[in-house]
């Protein structure tokens, strides 16, 4: 009797374990999602891109499409976002969390989500991007960018303007929490005003590109550092407001809180930078 009972117990335990053991099917839950819309005479588009975790690539798409999203997402923890409001001319793309999936105990379970977003280069684009804990690569060169709002959480994001903006951009803002943001070819963006709000992360700004007009950049930093890479010939005036903020003023003449680069008045394009920083540092590298 004793042997029978222990045998039954062992059988029960084995079956329970086999029921709980991960099957090949359940071990991986990456899923594809593709979403696109053809261009049918639209002149403007507001694109809201939300991406919580993984790798996000955003770039200009083919001429015939208004937008396209190719996504690989962790179906256990996220759900795809894809919806277009024709009346408002607004599309939402990306992934959002569903709040499930239990407790992660190993890194292997963090599935590598990827999203490729392509937007039409022919429409006036207002772009809102919110990136959580992800790696972002945004190639905006060639897009008719009218507005940009980038919220960067704990991500490493690069925003590139490899070509000039054929449209007219009123303002752009970038806010970064603990992540790192790099913007290259800022002069190509065509945005008259830029605003950077930084937390504790680093912000790298390359001021190269074809500036269509003089520019203005407002930097608000808490503890993070800012590096400005400026082409020689660009006039740069930096106003420092802040407590314990540090500015590497080599090559600048100082007047109170304002630092002016040599040849500022004669420079074909001038950029004014206003820095509000508690304890951050600002470095200018000429190239």
């Amino acid at each position: 009797m004793r042997r029978t009972r222990s045998g039954a117990c062992a059988l029960g335990a084995l079956t329970l374990l086999s029921a709980l053991s991960p099957s090949p099917a359940a071990a991986q839950t990456l899923r594809d999602f593709e979403y696109s819309r053809p261009l049918r005479g639209e002149r403007a588009l507001r694109a809201r891109v939300e991406f919580a975790a993984g790798t996000l690539i955003l770039r200009p798409g083919p001429a015939g499409r208004l937008y396209q999203l190719a996504l690989e997402y962790d179906a256990e923890r996220f759900r795809p976002i894809g919806g277009y409001d024709a009346a408002a001319g607004e599309v939402r793309l990306g992934v959002e969390g569903i709040g499930g999936g239990g407790i992660r105990v190993d890194r292997r379970s963090a599935l590598p989500q990827t999203a490729l977003v392509e937007l039409a280069p022919a429409v006036d684009l207002a772009l809102d991007v919110a990136i959580g804990a992800a790696e972002g690569s945004l190639e905006l060169g060639g897009l008719r960018l009218a507005e940009l709002d980038l919220k960067n959480g704990a991500s490493r994001t690069t925003v590139s303007f490899s070509g000039p903006n054929p449209g007219s951009c009123a303002a752009a803002s970038v806010s970064s929490g603990a992540g790192e943001v790099t913007v290259t070819g800022l002069g190509n963006s065509g945005c008259r005003q830029w605003r950077f709000d930084g937390g504790v992360g680093a912000v790298n700004i390359d001021l190269g590109g074809a500036w269509p007009a003089d520019g203005r950049i407002a930097l608000s930093m808490a503890l993070g550092g800012v590096t400005l890479r400026a082409p020689r010939g660009l006039g740069l005036r930096v106003t420092m407001n802040g407590f314990l903020a540090d500015f590497d003023a080599e090559g600048f003449s100082r007047s109170g809180k304002t630092y002016t680069s040599a040849g500022y008045e004669k420079a074909p394009r001038r950029v004014e930078v206003e820095v509000n920083s508690a304890m951050g540092g600002v470095t200018v590298e000429w190239r």
């Binding site: 099917a25 359940a26 819309r37 256990e76």
Partner: protein, 399 residues
């Protein structure tokens, strides 16, 4: 064989059968049924809006499971097909088209939306879809056709089980249960180790918090609740004050880290003290009934208390896959844990981290509890001497 053994064997067989059926179901998902029209009647599927493909997938898979063999459904303003389906050149399908478990090969025109489940939408040259196209568990393959609306494709979830039951079902599968179980074991072991550490280095404090939670449970809970509400505003005020004082801004990172550590220690310490109180109550009750309870010490109290809390979570982990009941079990376990943690948090604050036994129900200081006092005071079964009004000294010995 005893009934217990039979029940175990039956459970084992059931688990085995369920597992086999699930895997077989997954295999069946890959087969294509013979092409046929789905008879109208039964539930109605709405294909006018395709914004939420996951919900539509869930609905369609549920209908397929329910109507196994005798599927009946209606598509409002459209048709439903089972198996591969083709629209020939020059043909026009009026309204929306739903194709289940098969490809939709389009050479002609569909005046509406096209949706496939476990099949591709193939747009051959000359094909036109006036609405949108959605392939669930498949792809939209463009071979020269036109979709005037949007194109969506939601690939099959990895593996047959996912494809057969949808991503949410797969998320609640055995793999997830094992992940949860591993997480649960990890948390339980960590708490046990922290508790043993507390017993080792701060037993008097732990016991004082534990006694406070046991003796003044409601007071502790209310204190914990208030503290939860006030902790963030208080911290915000402190940080704001430091920032405004300019010099204090340098202290902000240290204060933030110290506050976070203190909060963590208070919550975890309080929670462990409540587990200690639960375990102590249970062990003492067993001893009072004359049952074997082993040695009565703080280690045993902690293990017993944590085991009780863990049982609630274990129930959820094992049965989370059961609809409704799984959610109810999770909510019950979460609520119980929150109640205990709040009580422990409050007890920790009331006892000043176990330094002040004001609410611990200890009327006499430990040094006053002499052998003489214990001899004179009835301990079990007889009402103990009441505390003299005004918190006076040790009651006089009875003669």
């Amino acid at each position: 064989m005893r009934s217990v053994d039979r029940a175990l064997l039956l459970a084992a067989l059931l688990f085995g059968l369920v597992g086999t059926a699930a895997h077989a179901g997954g295999r069946r998902a890959g087969q294509t049924p013979a092409p046929q029209a789905v008879p109208a009647g039964g539930p109605t599927v709405e294909l006018a809006k395709l914004d939420d493909p996951l919900r539509l997938e869930e609905q369609l898979r549920r209908l397929l499971r329910q109507g196994n063999g005798t599927l009946r459904l209606s598509v409002s303003n459209g048709h439903a097909r089972l198996g591969d389906f083709a629209v020939g050149p020059g043909e026009t399908v009026p309204g929306d088209l739903l194709v289940l478990k098969g490809d939709a090969d389009l050479f002609g025109r569909v005046s509406g939306n096209v949706v496939t489940l476990d099949g591709d939408i193939v747009l051959h040259s000359g094909a036109t879809v006036t609405g949108s196209a959605l392939a669930i568990g498949g792809r939209v393959r463009d071979r020269g056709g036109v979709v005037q609306g949007e194109q969506r494709s939601l690939g099959a979830a990895a593996g047959a089980e996912g494809a057969g039951r949808g991503p949410r079902a797969a998320a609640g599968g055995p793999g997830t249960a094992l992940t949860r179980l591993a997480g649960f074991v990890g948390v339980f072991l960590t708490l046990t180790l922290l508790g043993f550490g507390m017993v080792l280095v701060a037993q008097p404090n732990l016991e004082t918090i534990s006694d406070t939670a046991a003796h003044s449970a409601l007071r502790s809970f209310v204190a914990g609740l208030l503290a939860q509400v006030l902790v963030l505003p208080t911290l915000g005020m402190v940080v704001t004050g430091l920032v405004l004082s300019v010099v204090g801004i340098l202290l902000v990172p240290f204060v933030a880290i110290a506050a976070a550590l203190l909060l963590f220690a208070t919550i975890v310490g309080g929670f462990l003290a409540v587990a200690h109180a639960m375990g102590e109550t249970r062990v003492r009750r067993r001893m009072a009934r004359g049952l074997a309870a082993g040695s009565a010490n703080s280690y045993r109290y902690l293990l017993t208390g944590l085991g009780g809390i863990a049982a609630a979570w274990l129930g959820w982990i094992l049965f989370a896959w059961v609809p409704v009941a799984g959610t109810v079990m999770f909510l019950a376990a979460f609520l119980a844990t929150w109640l205990l943690a709040t009580t422990g948090f409050g007890a920790c604050l009331l006892s000043r981290a176990g330094i002040k036994p004001a609410f611990a129900g200890r009327y006499l200081p430990s040094e006053a509890v002499t052998d003489e006092y214990l001899w004179a005071t009835p301990q079990f079964g007889v009402t103990a001497a009441r505390r003299p009004p005004g918190g006076g000294p040790t009651p006089p010995r009875r003669s």
